[in-house]
Amino acid sequence: MALNNKISKIQELIYEISVGEVMRTNLVTVTPQTPMSRLREILREKRISGTPVVDGDKLVGIISIEDFIKWLANREPDCPIGQKMIKEVQTLHAEEPLTQAVNKFEQFGFGRFPVLDHQTNKLVGIITKGTIVEGLLKKLEIDHIEEEEVYRHRIKHFFEDILADKVSLFFQYDVEGQNFKRAGEGASRLKSSLRRLGLDPQIVRRVAIATYEAEMNLIIYTQGGTIRARVEPREIFVRVEDSGPGIPDIEKAMQPGYSTAPEWVRELGFGAGMGLNNIQRCASKMGLYSVVGKGTTLKIRIFTEEEAKSETRRNDSKTGPGR
């Protein structure tokens, strides 16, 4: 997925970025008087495959390694570059978009193009396929970082940005009973959604764990149910409902270690009798209501502002015996 985005981003950039933005400006140049014998040194030392030929600051030609090889192969005597250079030079202007450069590379098959300033026609830089790639990579990196920062900032202030007297986000997840393959999917999706809203990670974790345990209960004991979460700036309210079989003895069910889970559930690592206690531990407030034969409703409230004070309060009042 990411790769596709990057590729079309490159297509965008090729139209947006100008030749001037990626060209190399620390130019190596030669004059028409420079002898051909010197060319080898220059090309090798600067690790380039060609160079523009300038007279003063006017571009008069271009000479490449191919021209040098031809001169060598023919064993011609030393002479000034001016005699061997290509005089009709294909150039690009700094203001042109990269698409122009790409087209020219394709059209002419040259390795490099000198870049001229549009108004003065002075030589201002040189562009090769390599410089295009470098420039694109740099641009991609910068854009990627900026996009992410903006995105994160936007999401974090979601509630602040919405103008209303009361704001409430509602999520519902339908849970299929006895389906262990998808067990935890509801809680996982809720967690991702809350994360995206930029809520405090501690709060998100508590909601996630409480919802997960509740979801497991739905899957283990019932034919299915719903998880409804209401997210408001100051509290998150999760209501888990099913239509059977109901809990005969709620007090017993709340005892840590007490479990009515069938054997196969224990093999999955559950059924330790800690589910409801974990929920209680995560919640700021919890309510459990059940009628045998009709169903069960579990209400969990997690306050966001209470976080700092709640650690101590919860540890004192809600911890079960002997933990």
């Binding site: 067990a183 996982s188 330790a272 800690m274 974990n278």
Partner: protein
């Protein structure tokens, strides 16, 4: 310590997340009961477990665990590994049994979850 160091101490093999080995591990917990894990374990922990079903990865996801290491040479099924990869949760496996794994990490200074709690 880092997950990389823990991996070396346990002589573990990486099943998922080999690009995530640089992250810090603040404490560890050994358990086969997921509900226990959800009561006690704190984030940035390494979970040592013999349980290999997908719920282990879910539990890790809910509790923000740093990584899971299976003991006694256990390996989870491919579906579980895929889930872990999708959620960026590293999975390791060691041939060492639970007690030894815990012991080794402990002697290298890795605290348990109760040790790490600032309040009781």
């Amino acid at each position: 310590m880092t997950l990389q160091e823990a991996k070396e101490i346990l002589e573990a093999e990486v099943l998922a997340g080999d690009d995530l080995l640089g992250q810090p591990i603040k404490m560890a917990c050994g358990s086969d009961l997921m509900s226990d894990v959800l009561s006690f374990v704190k984030p940035e922990s390494l979970l040592l477990t013999g349980l290999t079903n997908p719920q282990v990865v879910r539990t890790a996801e809910m509790a923000d665990l740093a990584a899971i290491c299976f003991v006694r040479g256990k390996r989870p099924d491919p579906l579980t590994i895929e889930m872990a990869k999708a959620k960026n949760i590293p999975l390791l496996t060691t041939l060492l049994p639970m007690f030894e794994s815990c012991g080794r990490l402990w002697t290298h200074g890795l605290p348990g979850c109760s040790e790490y709690q600032k309040k009781r």
